[in-house]
Symmetry: D4
Subunit: 211 residues, 8 copies
């Protein structure tokens, strides 16, 4: 390793959510729908929890691609929202790039639908311009696993770092002592096993203390 | 087919939720956790939507099995709740059987954790007593797929009908004209693809009407 | 085997295509979309090839479920087409049952979306009324494989016969001498491997004969 | 269901372990080796825990099939041990059948290697003679999943009940109040998730009580 | 179990190999090709080993379906060989049925390509006429696993017994003392793991005896 | 990333289709046949849509490898068509390389059968000569997934970019405003889910506007 | 390869076991629980067998994450044990890094739960500081295979070497002549197939020598 | 690509077959046994076909690892055969390295059991000494797919090229005109689909020519 560990920093990271639209989601078949929805909303929640600048963008909302998923709109009512008039690569849209640069952040956390286009294209463009790119693999979906694997390889070979939303959250948080309850809630809301651990813990604790 | 189609009837059905406890859920590995949680809560929601008598039961909540999942408690605050002192087969517990019989229903919709024990044992006992049994396969979980397949075979051979929560809802509802909005909401809340269909539909409709 | 082999007979069979609608198809995830589309159209083609009476039905075409797939409309421009006003089980719709009975056929070949509802419900109802039921498993789709397996079990236990479209075609045709070219074309159009066999065969034959 | 639920009864059940030999185990590929070993030993432990009469049998131990797995020998040093001189179906060996009948039990819990031969043959023979047969599917292994599925179907159609070792243990125990610690230990030793539940429980309890 | 165990008997069984043709084999995708070839040849070898009357049949050898696999021709140079002029169900061909009946056997071991047609149709016809039918599932192939599962279900529900070639061999042989070397050779030739067991055994034995 | 993003450019790209022959296609088992056929034809359609110079090549068409798939011949009646007399690596054929160089393009989009030979060999040779290579992974097939994964790794390590046909189309198109209808038609013809989105969209729009 | 083969050296390697805690283990779903437990304990046993300095660390043992697995405590009663007060990346804990550096070793063998956090973070930090990092992939677990694959890619691209516990043991041992019995015992205890090989070997040897 | 394409050259390549021993093969579970045996023998056959210097080596043949597979002995009666007295990495054995160097070849084609040890260790050592290394992935086996993937990644990152035996054969042969019959026979013997293509071809040709 000849260069330092490019570690996510909550003061230097921004989140780009690309084309999570109601119609396009019907194309996603490398995840179960329940699981994918949960992963996307978890990423949204972590962006809010860490107060990361977040940018939404969509492609042809008025057409068959459909509107942005309502939950994301609700999570980010005030975020820059670039409805691209036609550019497939969000990075080809000036407003989008301006919005990214306006954040002043150098680390871009990207997720979208579909992986090999809406995620890979801006990821490669951003890498070319010197950004550090972190792909949230489990909040990005595509047609099937063959397509996904090819897209991952292309991005990885170009220098993108492949992450999960959970890994992103942990790398941003660094230390539980920064805030136990907030992060715990984030995990409990999106990881059923974690919620169960917490529930069992609380129950035993209460019982043992005679509550 | 020498006997009539045993069709679910909302006036003759009751729901039995067996041992969906925080600790036991960590044993479930034949479903992804996100998906399983969604299925269980969907079953709970449909029980409420159709006003089906619903009975909760748990095994050793104070021990490692952990407390009943909080969402189920919240869905059914007033339901009969039988914390079994030790019987593994809920049907061996008199209070449970009394509660079942008190509903006056002859069709039992059963789900639980783990499938080959907490579901199969009461299912077989109920069949033996002449009830019609409908197993909600996707709201019942166990250690792995081998175990699940064996449990399904045993129940099916004994006369249980294997269903999904979606199939149960549709068979109970019979006709969309009974209520479109309620059932649509149930589906939208638990089937992301369905929600997306509805969102796209509404968006196009609004746009076309110049809204 | 205590009863005779219930064998498909082209003079006694009808085809029921239930709810292959554009919106509902986005729910189908137990088949790859390319494969599923091919299977459904193959079933349509075989129904026409054997001149089987065919009945189309849909549920709420004006809503999110979307319109019937255009290719099916094109395949059966004159078929009875029952747009159900609300009944989930097509058999609960009088017009549908009338249309079925009007065919005078006693063998029903059923496919639809989703398997455990739109296929299973009319299949069970038809069995109850004494029809022989043949489910075209690969032209019927649903949410996932767990759901499919449960639906198959329920139908099989009630006496339905589980088939593939290819098996249906072969059982109806009985003897290649009835017509080689027609059936061969049907297979070549829907089974790429079969088309390749034919292409290789023709090429060698042509070359060997100095063509 | 026209007949009573054939429920395992610890006073009426015996265990038959067929051909778990070191060489034959290398043929088992429908389970991971770690998992299979654990399941077989779990079945052995439960047989001992419930004091079920247990019969061991092997085929050609001196040849390539190899010796009986040492752990089973250690678990059952005094069990009837029938080294069959050649019969493939253990039920064709008089000593074996005598040993079975000497137990006086009418419920036979069978596991072995390979499933479609060493398990299925005696299972079918025992059913023919009026025994109730319970196949422990996860302690029985074979070449691959295709072979397993076919074997399960044959046995199930003949009336065998397909179980897991965990289901067997629970059905035999009936009520935790019969003995919590013993059964808990059995589970903790063979289900890592269960052990973890117990460990977490004890830790919280100790901590909460200031231990 | 209300009827006796229908056990394969080498004096009462015949083998039917249906349409294992070079072209049709390219359609088989529910097995790896290496594995499928091995299974088919194993079945051929066992038929010869037990001197079972064996009947070959093909469909349209001169066309795209291609010639019978050469190895099967070599294994059975003198077997009845019915090149059907067009019948899809071999049982619809008089010569084939005559050949079957000429064997005087009542147990039919059937394998072929593709499972839901070339195997299922004659299997169902033979059951209808009172034969006992044993399907060799791993020497029968088809388009994919969905199609296979449906075909198995149809045959099983009609009374066919689902077997593997290894299970067939063992049930026919009954007792190793009838002939160790012959059966051992059959297994070593078609089960690499078994061959390895034998090789290791011989090596250790030789070494230990100072050879 | 120390070098610019090698982005597909429709004025600088050519398509090489290598050995999609009727016989060789029977070797492809890492895709379902329906799906693979669709992917290959989609690639052909996109090459035509973007007017990319396209080169066809085959190996031993007169022998068992069989003729080029007819649909590709039909798509490219005027394309250079190099029937190689024996070279396995198309790049070892002078006419092929001449044809490639005659296009004047520096970006090569390659697909073929089988992946580790007919695709990987010319891909590596072209990389060696300084071309940019884009492998269309989902229009390239081989014996199984192990073989595919190894081939992908070899090409990726040498600098090839792994793509899907959909990704290729999107990267070439850059902006929907260049042409909505043409690209939309391409997608609708080869992505059933996309066609369904469009159909639902049109239906709602028409209905809302009172058509 | 421009740099020498970074080979594990038992005099230069240390083992870091990160967060194998009872609660966190319920999150691990990319391995079967039986298998994962065995792999972790195998890694512990090899660390002891080779006398490698081993460091244990945990995160929030008193909370829902639960206590360190008891077996690891028992294997390493005297190892440095860093209960981190909050740092997610163990490398952010000074005591941990001190303990690592105190070993004087430059090769770090790391395993933990979950892979993309508890393993990846210290792995990347250690690489940054010039350590050679060997990840024990089969003793590290996480939520699912998608998450695992992404984590592996990130670590591999940064220079970590991906190993299995078996590969680690073999690379450390170098030559069986250093000790046959010890390593053989290690393998027999954790690889059932290996134990079976040894049992068969011993049995034949004994028999051949007339024992 | 900054360096030339390292292409296999039959005048510069040697084959190393490492530890394909009867006992060790029972550990291989990332391939079906039939398939793996076929792949290994195909590699042996191609080594002979191209007259590549081939070196055999084994580890502890007299112990549980068992003897070299007999077929390999038969294929290479005169090849250097290094029975290593204890070195796990064959490259640590002087005789082995001498034998490799005596071939004068700079390209090493390596396969063995198990992948992460018997293949990876000599592959990494050979790379370190400047050899070009080609791993035959489908003739190398190990415990499971997780272990395989990790081993592949380690070797690939170090510069090894991952191949299949078919790819190796094609890259060595370069041009069918060098010999059609020999290579065709090699393929027909080890690729059932290829054999079928040839059989169909010959049959049609013969028929068309009135033979």
């Amino acid at each position: 390793m000849t260069q330092p560990y490019a570690k996510l920093d909550k003061n230097n990271a921004a989140v780009l959510l690309v084309d999570h639209q109601a119609g396009l989601l019907s194309l996603v078949r490398d995840f179960q729908p329940d699981q994918f929805k949960n992963n996307v909303l978890a990423l949204g929640d972590l962006a809010r929890y860490f107060n990361l600048p977040t940018i939404l963008t969509t492609s042809f909302e008025q057409g068959p691609n459909g509107p942005l998923v309502q939950e994301l709109k609700d999570q980010f009512p005030d975020a820059p929202y670039i409805a691209r008039p036609g550019q497939i690569n969000a990075w080809d849209n000036e407003d989008f790039v301006k919005a990214v640069k306006a954040t002043g952040r150098k680390q871009l956390i990207i997720a979208g639908v579909v992986t090999e286009v809406c995620v890979a294209f801006p990821a490669l463009s951003a890498l070319e311009e010197g950004f550090e790119v972190f792909v949230v693999t489990d909040a990005s979906g595509t047609f099937n696993e063959v397509t996904r694997d090819a897209a991952w390889d292309r991005m990885s070979q170009a220098g993108a770092q492949l992450m999960s939303w959970f890994g992103v959250a942990c790398e941003l948080h660094r230390d539980w002592r920064n805030d136990i309850e907030g992060l715990g809630t984030l995990f409990a809301n999106h990881i059923p096993d974690y919620r169960n651990l917490m529930a069992s813990y609380s129950a035993v604790q209460a019982a043992s203390q005679g509550k």
